[in-house]
């Protein structure tokens, strides 16, 4: 494999392109189980019939674990939104439709979103006091338990549209099964972190298309804000804290 064309660099991985394939090479110390888990998640989602690039192999290169997937030639939806703001509404429509399509799938062996969120809240012992974690656990515990496929990081940079206009959803590292509104709350949060206007357009559209009450999605916001906090970005902390520090009615 020739690894010379880098298409993305992240903290824990480097992504290359070669011969119609994408090679995601993880850092040396990256847990092997995480790599296999990501590949397995991806494979499970493939089996739901969603239009996503296939996993080709899990391999090693220079002693580093790597996941090889099909390459899709095209633009991300994020790029298109930016380049063609006049048609934003239309892109957002497409965006929400794709997310709802994911939510319509089930994959019984995927990890449970609720378990993941509970673990994430627990891991915040340094950031949040016991009372706040208790409130978050209580809130999470009372939310309805569903089994819909959730992307986990559904944002316009993870959608590629090819020349023919076909959409491919990529990056299934965070895929779980759980409550679709939690997934939507996360997407809303991702938008809010850089453009509140897009966030509101998204929220209204999602609630309208999925026939969901806005309050119901909002109930997840303190929880997904806590999950986001586990990424440890100092710049987001004050913003997330404001979302987390709310009071359950008594």
């Amino acid at each position: 494999m020739k690894l010379d064309q880098i298409i993305a660099t992240r903290d824990k991985k480097t992504v290359y392109k070669t011969d119609g394939l994408v090679i995601k090479v993880f850092n040396e110390n990256h847990p092997k189980s995480d790599v296999f888990n990501e590949a397995l998640n991806h494979a499970r989602v493939e089996e739901t019939g969603l239009n996503i690039p296939r996993v080709a192999e899990v391999t090693q290169t220079d002693g580093k674990w790597a996941i090889v997937t099909e390459y899709v030639e095209g633009k991300t939806l994020a790029q298109m939104m930016e380049e063609d703001p006049d048609n934003l509404q239309q892109y957002m429509n497409r965006f929400v439709d794709l997310q709802l399509e994911i939510h319509s799938k089930s994959s019984p062996l995927l990890n449970k979103l609720k378990d993941k969120l509970n673990r994430q809240i627990n891991s915040l012992a340094g950031e949040l006091d016991a009372t706040t974690r208790y409130e978050l656990h209580t809130r999470l515990d009372s939310m309805p338990k569903h089994t819909k496929v959730c992307h986990g990081d559904f944002n316009p940079t993870n959608i590629i549209i090819d020349k023919a206009g076909t959409a491919y959803i990529i990056d299934w590292a965070h895929a779980t099964q759980g409550n679709a509104s939690a997934d939507a709350a996360n997407t809303y949060l991702q938008f809010s972190l850089y453009d509140q206007r897009l966030a509101e357009i998204y929220m209204n559209l999602f609630c309208e298309k999925s026939d969901t009450a806005k309050q119901y999605v909002q109930q997840w916001l303190p929880i997904v804000a806590a999950a986001q906090m586990t990424k440890g970005k100092e710049s987001e902390k004050a913003f997330l804290m404001k979302w987390i520090d709310v009071f359950d009615y008594q």
Binding site: A130, T131, Y134, E135, H137, T138, R139, D141, S142, K214, Q215, Q218, Q219, L221, P222, K242, W243, D245, V246, F247, D248, Y249, Q250
Partner: protein, 871 residues
């Protein structure tokens, strides 16, 4: 192999599932001991605990405010004081141990048992007062209680519980009867809720939902969003100041606290001026927006504003208000959940709406309740003479407390502004709020009430016409009363064509003429009288307007006359309703109309037979619908029965035989009935003996006066017996056999009678009849009593029964009754084709209920087959 240590020592600090389990195990032991305490011991503990909590009200209030950073010390003192004093006062004399009530006459007793281990989730808004409340009501009911405090308020909650525990133990309560989690976590809270016997879950919707999903019964309460309406008839000064008083109480942290005020247009300015005069601040439009974004974040309440003062909240929002501001008021328009001011705010922030009409105010309140306060509390300020508006408000609000002219924080918890609303710090919100109770929670919700019910007998009765006249030649003497005593003016005679044409009515008419009583006669009654016939009779009655009805004839004429009587007195009646079957005539769904208001009913039998002159029964056939209506109610009892043998001398042989054996069946079934009493037994025994001895004579020689007299008396006595004890499955089956195959009623009975007797006499029946007085299957012994009374005795009970049945068979033979259904010319294929339907209908017949053996349909079928084939 060493056995595992069963006695785990209880750790001093409860901070893990293992420690908690050990703690709860020890508490269960303590509760077991507590459950044996007397009312006196419990009341002493309740007193000591309430006193101790009351003494510590100020330190506890200070602790709560210091720890949670919310609320007002002075107001928390009141809450603690209230939780101790009002709860004690309300329940000090309440019986919570042992027998609560007893009614020896009805044999019923209510006994209180503790539930066991109560799990209590305590909120941060009222951490000490709720702890005092819940521990006190648990002590009063001999329960153990384990508290799961909120981490934000754990120290003060635990301290309140400790104070109550120490005082209770000092007063004699078992050690450790109150417990708590020292280091709260969701895992431990869930464990407590899973293991306890009941959950008192005061808390937010998340906690309440967890409680309900724990699988244990829960008394949970939820969010409130109390809307207030100020009507234009209200006392504005009182209204506004009550709202301020309530809304500022503990900085608005009571869940029943006012969240919005909807004011009628006419008094809006007056209300606003009063709020301003009393120190409230009306936010300007840009300030409203600032406060909106401060109090609610993503649709949830900002934790930083809960229980803070108006000034603090304004400062957070960047709004400048005087430091002593009591409430921040936002004049807003939308009641939709997207309006931040429409939420529950748990702080001195209030929404104010303007309404043009009372109806508009109601609509707004309804929406606010739907947004976030289903089942909790609503409030109305009004002149209480406005009954209509108040009723409409009460009908429309889906809240479990509807407070009128009352500050809702204080009003909702009860006993402060209304003294019949129970004091409580756990306010049930009904199913609207996902709760199992809709009232203020108290000790009664922590008790299992056992009902001890002893067997009691049904009240029985003996009912018969007020006048039963008998003896040869009694008719004209009896009829004399109609004129001389009762002063009747118009008599309507009902009879059949045969009797009319043969002059049987003449003596009656003569007597009536003699007394100057006008009369007319309807003589179109045919056997199995029809509704058409009864309607025609009724029409004539309505024209004639009699004050007296005289029925002359056999069962058909008397039944038809009874029906005409009903329709004459109550033209509106519905036969479907009147004919509805019942288990117990005193508990039937349909209430029979009152009879006798227009006409006095005289029944004169001409056959010895149905006994209809003294029974509350009548059967009518709706020939168009093909339905038979068997009517039964004591309202149908004739007022006067005249049993004069002179009317019976010319009965033809067939009638004498069929109706005579019917009398025997009445007597035997009434005697075997589960409802038989000594009163009916006497009548039945004498009747059956008369039949056995005199029916053959009357059959052979119709002119034999003595035999005719004895049969007339037998018929009437058997009638009285079954009018009160009812019949059995022989009649059920005979009704259907007669209806399907056109056999005379008496003959149908005769063909089944002895088969049913053998069936009923079974000492090990498949099922016995259900009736409190009917203790065990005893019908064999009952038939033996009948046999003995009739002079028949065998070497044992079974032998006696056999001989009795032989005597009845002999009687049947003497009066020309054939042996089988087949012998009456009913074709086998016709019989078999209708069999299943007959079986089901016979099973469902009104007579089946009194039978001593509850029949299976397969058993009825077998009896029918035996009666058909004779084997």
């Amino acid at each position: 192999m060493a056995k595992k240590e069963t006695q785990t020592p209880v750790p001093a600090i409860i901070d893990s599932v293992e420690a908690l389990q050990a703690k709860m195990k020890a508490m269960r032991e303590a509760q077991k001991k507590f459950s044996t305490y007397s009312q006196e011991q419990v009341d002493k503990i309740f007193f000591a605990a309430a006193m101790a909590a009351n003494k510590q009200r100020i330190p506890l209030a200070k602790m709560a405010v210091a720890e949670t950073g919310m609320g007002v010390v002075e107001d928390k003192v009141i809450k603690n004081h209230y939780a101790a004093e009002y709860i004690y006062n309300k329940y000090k004399t309440m019986k919570t141990c042992g027998v609560l009530e007893e009614d020896p006459a009805f044999g019923i007793k209510k006994v209180a048992d503790p539930i066991g281990l109560v799990a209590a989730v305590i909120p941060t808004t009222n951490p000490t007062s709720t702890a005092i409340f819940k521990t006190l009501i648990s002590l009063k009911t001999r329960n153990a209680i384990i508290i799961s405090p909120h981490p934000r308020a754990k120290n003060c909650t635990i301290e309140a519980a400790r104070i109550v525990l120490d005082a209770a133990v000092a007063a004699g309560a078992p050690e450790g009867i109150i417990g708590w989690i020292d280091v709260p976590s969701l895992e431990l809270t869930n464990e407590v809720m899973k293991e306890a016997d009941i959950i008192l879950a005061t808390g937010g919707p998340g906690m309440v939902k967890s409680a309900y999903s724990s699988g244990k019964p829960a008394l949970g309460v939820g969010a409130g969003n109390t809307p207030v309406i100020i009507d234009d008839t209200a006392d504005i000064r009182m209204a506004v100041n009550s709202i301020i008083h309530s809304k500022t109480f503990d900085n608005g942290m009571i869940c029943a606290s006012e969240q919005s005020v909807t004011v009628l247009d006419k008094v809006y300015k007056q209300v606003k001026d009063e709020f301003i005069y009393r120190g409230c601040y009306f936010l300007k439009s840009d300030e409203i927006e600032k406060v909106r974004k401060t109090i609610i974040i993503n649709g949830a309440l900002n934790a930083k504003i809960v229980g803070q003062s108006a000034y603090t909240i304004a400062k957070l929002a960047g709004v400048d208000v005087p430091e002593k501001t009591k409430i921040l008021i936002g004049e807003v328009e939308s009641v939709d959940i997207s309006e931040e001011f429409a939420h529950e705010k748990l702080s001195p922030v209030l929404a104010m709406y303007k309404a043009k009409t009372f109806e508009e105010a109601l609509e707004k309140s309804e929406q606010l309740i739907a947004d976030g306060g289903y089942g909790h509390t609503s409030s109305l300020y009004i002149n209480t003479n406005e009954k209509e508006k108040m009723a409409e408000h009460a009908a429309r609000m889906k809240t479990c407390r509807i407070l009128v002219n009352t500050p809702s924080s204080h009003g909702g918890i009860g006993d402060l502004y209304n003294f019949k609303l129970n004091p409580s710090l756990t306010l049930g919100c009904g199913t609207w709020g996902g709760n199992s109770v809709s009232e203020n929670v108290g000790p009664k919700h922590l008790l299992n009430i056992k009902t001890v019910a002893e067997r009691r007998e049904n009240m029985l009765w003996f009912r018969t016409p007020e006048k039963v006249y008998f003896k040869k030649g009694c008719m004209p003497v009896a009829l004399d009363e109609l004129g001389t005593v009762m002063g009747k003016k118009k008599a309507f005679i009902v009879t059949d064509t045969f009797l009319y044409k043969n002059g049987y009515v003449n003596p009656i008419e003569q007597k009536l003429d003699e007394m100057g009583i006008q009369h007319t006669c309807f003589y179109d009654v045919a056997p199995d009288p029809t509704l058409t016939c009864a309607k025609e009779g009724t029409r004539q009655m309505l024209n004639f307007e009699p004050d007296c009805i005289i029925a002359l004839g056999g069962g058909s004429a008397m039944d038809a006359a009874k029906i005409m009587w009903v329709m004459y007195e109550h033209p509106e009646v519905n036969f479907h309703d009147m004919a509805m079957d019942f288990i117990d005539i005193r508990k039937r769904i349909y209430t029979f109309p009152k009879m006798g208001e227009k006409a006095y009913f005289v029944a004169i039998p001409t056959s010895s037979g149905t006994g209809s002159e003294v029974t509350p029964f009548a059967i009518i056939t709706d020939e168009e619908a093909g339905v038979k209506y068997p009517l039964a109610d004591y309202e149908l009892l004739p007022n006067m029965a005249i049993v004069d043998v002179d009317n019976m001398m010319s009965q033809p042989k067939g009638l004498t035989s069929a109706s005579g054996i019917d009398v025997m069946t009445h007597a035997l079934e009434a005697y075997a009935s589960v409802m038989a009493t000594d009163y009916t037994d006497g009548m039945a025994l004498k009747a059956m003996k008369n039949v056995l001895n005199y029916l053959p004579v009357a059959y052979e020689d119709g002119t034999n006066l003595e035999a005719r007299q004895k049969m007339a008396d037998a018929s009437c006595m058997a009638g009285m017996a079954f009018a009160n004890a009812f019949l059995g499955v022989c009649h059920s089956m005979a009704h259907k056999l007669g209806a399907f195959h056109h056999l005379p009623h008496g003959v149908a009975n005769a063909l089944l009678l002895t088969l049913v007797m053998k069936y009923n006499a079974e000492e090990v029946p498949t099922k016995m009849g259900t009736f409190s007085q009917y203790e065990y299957p005893h019908t064999l012994a009952r038939y033996v009593e009948c046999a003995n009374f009739c002079g028949i005795a065998g070497k044992n009970d079974q032998d006696t029964l056999d001989k009795f049945i032989a005597a009845i068979e002999d009687l049947k033979e003497k009066i020309g009754i054939k042996k089988t259904i087949a012998e009456y010319g009913i074709k086998e294929e016709d019989f078999l084709a209708t069999l299943d339907e007959m079986v089901e209908q016979a099973f469902d017949d009104q007579c089946t209920g009194a039978n001593p053996r509850y029949p299976l349909m397969s058993e009825i079928k077998e009896l029918y087959l035996k009666a058909y084939y004779g084997k």
